[in-house]
């Protein structure tokens, strides 16, 4: 075998990952593993090893519920043929490897900077001098938006090329939020510091990223969480999904000027996040997910509160949703706006809601179930048109599905005094991978340990990493005034991308 198959949250010795010559590595991942049924690349990264660069590629097979891991050791100085030339889904991954390690690709179609990290290979690259695509024409004009935007929102620069009101091309430049999180995972030695880092990767996906971190860490430390722990984590993840999807529907209403919808969805989110505060003392669930334990166990009182809250929520949620999705002025703005076809979604390798809106059945909860998703027998919901309407409807349907899951899970709560468990030290010379389906899509955390079990490399991939390009393509041929509603219906993360 020239690759190894692992399950989600499995830790393997580094030596078990087959090392291939680069040509065979390319051949295997691009032409063989990706073709084995519905498969997609969940992570592809490099890190310094023996004075060279170790490349690790992880391809997830969604039917077989396994992840194929293979590696290559390359000399950073020699130019290499790119994966991206053959398959575009590797485009961003290779740009990142190029930016971090200076590997030159001979035939990469779009080898531009990703996020201008402080430890970038080429320090001459400056964020103010990003090489934007240009079209020379007297009829066309450019519109630059950002990095600071009009609302209370994170920074990023959008450069439009327009023909009158129509967008011909959009290029999105990110990196402003870069805080150097991945190296900090190695520098901060205490577990609590690392948990704090994980919940600060993206403050709107606190549960998602914390869960990916603790699942990865517990796997490295040989720790098997009991059912209660998994139950509370699954409920937290679904509750986060309901809360953020509700907030997104509010923002989508705002961007089409439907004030009532925006206010009602906005206020419906409030009791959901206040519930997190009741549970763990923080409205965005910071502090809730911890490796090897829970500082805030679920109690019967808490779950009763949750059921009552969801009952109340659903009544008003259904009422406003019925109105919104039958309102001609709203539908006129939603339908056929910002379309990503099924073919485009597959070519770009989109994940999460940005995949399922275009009939791509990609959902870690069913393909690589973690925590209690195996029990729930999750079936991904999909929409077919890939427009704003599909993205909004999908959120509505996913909210209802998550509410059902919470109701189902709560029935099986068995409150027990948790036995104090202590975490062993992480295994040395190991590789661990964790996938979590957050509300935005798949989150992937990979850890590599060294001689004494210390972290040698920590790789984070937010779903936005795949999906930003989809937004740029979705707005083509739309009016520039539709950009805000397109952007909000994707609701991608800046800080999750910039790290």
């Amino acid at each position: 075998m020239n690759y190894i198959s692992i399950r989600n949250n499995e830790t393997i010795p580094l030596s078990a990952i087959p090392e291939l010559p680069y040509a065979a590595f390319l051949e295997l991942n691009v032409f063989s593993l990706l073709k084995k049924g519905p498969a997609h690349c969940v992570s592809y990264f490099g890190y310094p090893d023996q004075g060279k660069i170790r490349l690790i590629c992880c391809i997830a097979n969604d039917d077989q519920h396994v992840i194929y891991v293979s590696s290559a050791l390359v000399d950073g100085a020699a130019p290499l043929p790119s994966f991206s030339k053959q398959n575009l889904v590797f485009e961003k991954f290779e740009r990142e490897i190029h930016e971090n390690h200076g590997i030159r690709y001979t035939d990469h179609p779009w080898l531009k900077p990703v996020r201008y990290p402080y430890n970038r290979f080429d320090k001459n690259q400056a964020i103010g001098a990003y090489p934007f695509f240009k079209i020379e024409s007297e009829e066309l004009h450019e519109v630059g938006v950002g990095p600071i935007h009009a609302g209370i929102i994170e920074p990023g620069h959008f450069r439009f090329i327009c023909n009158g009101e129509q967008i011909l091309h959009l290029e999105i430049q990110l990196g402003y939020q870069h805080r150097g999180i991945e190296p900090l995972f190695l520098e901060k030695k205490k577990l609590l510091q690392r948990s704090t880092l994980a919940e600060n990767i993206a403050g709107d996906s606190v549960v998602g990223h914390s869960l990916a971190f603790v699942n990865c860490w517990e796997s490295l430390c040989h720790f098997q969480p009991d059912r209660e722990l998994k139950l509370s984590r699954t409920i937290a993840l679904e509750l986060e999904r309901i809360a953020v999807h509700t907030g997104d529907l509010s923002a989508i209403c705002m961007d089409i000027g439907y004030q009532l919808g925006s206010s009602v969805y906005g206020r419906l989110r409030t009791p959901l996040i206040n519930y997190f505060q009741k549970w763990c003392g923080n409205r965005l669930a910071k502090g809730l997910i911890r490796a090897g334990k829970s500082d805030y166990p679920l109690t019967k009182t808490l779950t009763d509160d949750l059921l009552a809250l969801l009952e109340e929520y659903q009544k008003d949620f259904e009422e406003i949703s019925e109105e919104l999705f039958s309102l001609p002025s709203a539908l006129a703005r939603f339908e056929k706006t910002g379309v990503i076809s099924n073919e485009q979604a597959l070519t770009l390798g989109t994940v999460g809601t940005a995949a399922r809106m275009s009939a791509v059945k990609r959902d870690i909860r069913s393909s690589h179930p973690h925590d209690l998703y195996g029990e729930l027998q999750h079936q991904p919901l999909i929409k077919n048109h890939g427009d704003v309407h599909s993205r909004a409807r999908l959120r509505k349907k996913e909210i209802n599905q998550s509410i059902e899951y919470i109701r189902e899970l709560v029935q099986t709560l068995h409150v027990a005094t948790p036995a104090p468990a202590s975490l062993e030290a992480p295994r040395p010379h190991s590789f661990s991978l964790s996938l979590v389906e957050g509300w935005r899509g798949e989150i992937c955390h990979c850890a590599v340990t060294g001689e004494n079990g210390e972290l040698v490399h920590y790789k984070i991939k937010d779903p936005s990493f795949h999906n930003w390009l989809a937004l740029a393509l979705a707005v083509r041929n739309n009016e520039i005034s539709d950009f805000p509603v397109c952007n909000k219906s994707f609701d991608l993360s800046y800080c999750g991308h910039d790290l």
Binding site: I148, E154, Q177, R179, K188, T196, N282, K286, E323, C495
Partner: protein, 250 residues
């Protein structure tokens, strides 16, 4: 139309009538209180993920604290977090809570610049800049304006352009890549203008404080008018802090 009115009616009253006295639900971790109990100094200072705890006398720096609550779990007799969300102050040192301190935290009138009460007491328009923020403080700042907290009733609003603003609200630890845009935005705001730091990341850098990806030089050049601690800030902490700042006379 009728359906819309019906929906409106079904919402009932959603706003918080008095944001200065509202109680927060559940186990909110607000202003902490430290007792005189003796604990091992090393255990105490080593515990905190961001170095917010110091010893002799025992202190906690809310500008560094991430409000994870670990110290109150390990030393329940030594430190407790109250549900008091009023934590905004206008002096950096006032964020340090010492052993035995149990006072309401508030803006020091002596330190408020004269222009603030003269120009902004009835209306304050703010520009928000996220400089490496993780979108949690940003979401809570958005929540300040929603129908529940309704900060707009006090004439405090976020505006789209620095040209329309009376001040800047910074979130995030201020990354190197955002240092220049932040400066440009600040320069575009007409005088007089104020600076508010919202959240632990903005006040001290938080968990990122030691990281080489930050450039916090901006803060050395100007006086900060309000510090609002939290990770993220609670909307009530922010609203009460700003009201305290613009309503007090210097």
């Amino acid at each position: 139309m009728l359906d819309n009115l019906k929906i409106l009616f079904h919402q009932g009253k959603q706003y918080i009538p008095d944001v200065t006295t509202a109680a927060v639900p559940g186990i909110f971790r607000g202003r902490p209180v430290i007792s005189a109990e003796t604990v091992s100094e090393t255990d105490w200072t080593e515990l905190c993920p961001t170095g917010a705890l110091s010893a002799s006398p025992a202190c906690i720096d809310l500008g560094k604290c991430t409000f994870c609550g670990e110290c109150a779990r390990v030393f329940p007799g030594k430190i407790q977090f109250t549900t008091d969300y009023k934590m905004a102050v206008n002096e950096r040192n006032a964020l340090i809570i010492r052993e035995g301190d149990d006072r309401v935290m508030q803006v020091n009138p002596g330190q408020i610049r004269k222009e603030i009460s003269a120009f902004f007491s009835g209306s304050l328009k703010l520009r928000q800049v996220s400089a490496g923020g993780d979108n949690s403080c940003e979401m809570e700042l958005n929540a300040c304006g929603n129908v529940n907290f309704d900060m707009g009733r006090f004439g405090i609003e976020f505006v789209a352009s620095p040209r329309h603003a009376d001040g800047i609200v910074i979130t995030g630890p201020i990354t190197e890549n955002m240092a220049e845009p932040l400066q440009i935005c600040y320069d575009a705001i007409p005088e007089p203008k104020i600076i508010i730091l919202a959240g632990t990341d903005a006040i001290s850098g938080g968990i990122f404080a030691s990281g080489p990806a930050l450039n916090r030089g901006f803060l050395n050049r100007y006086t900060v008018d309000l510090y609002v601690p939290g990770n993220p800030i609670h909307p009530l902490s922010f609203i009460n802090g700003v009201l305290d700042l613009i309503r007090k006379r210097s």
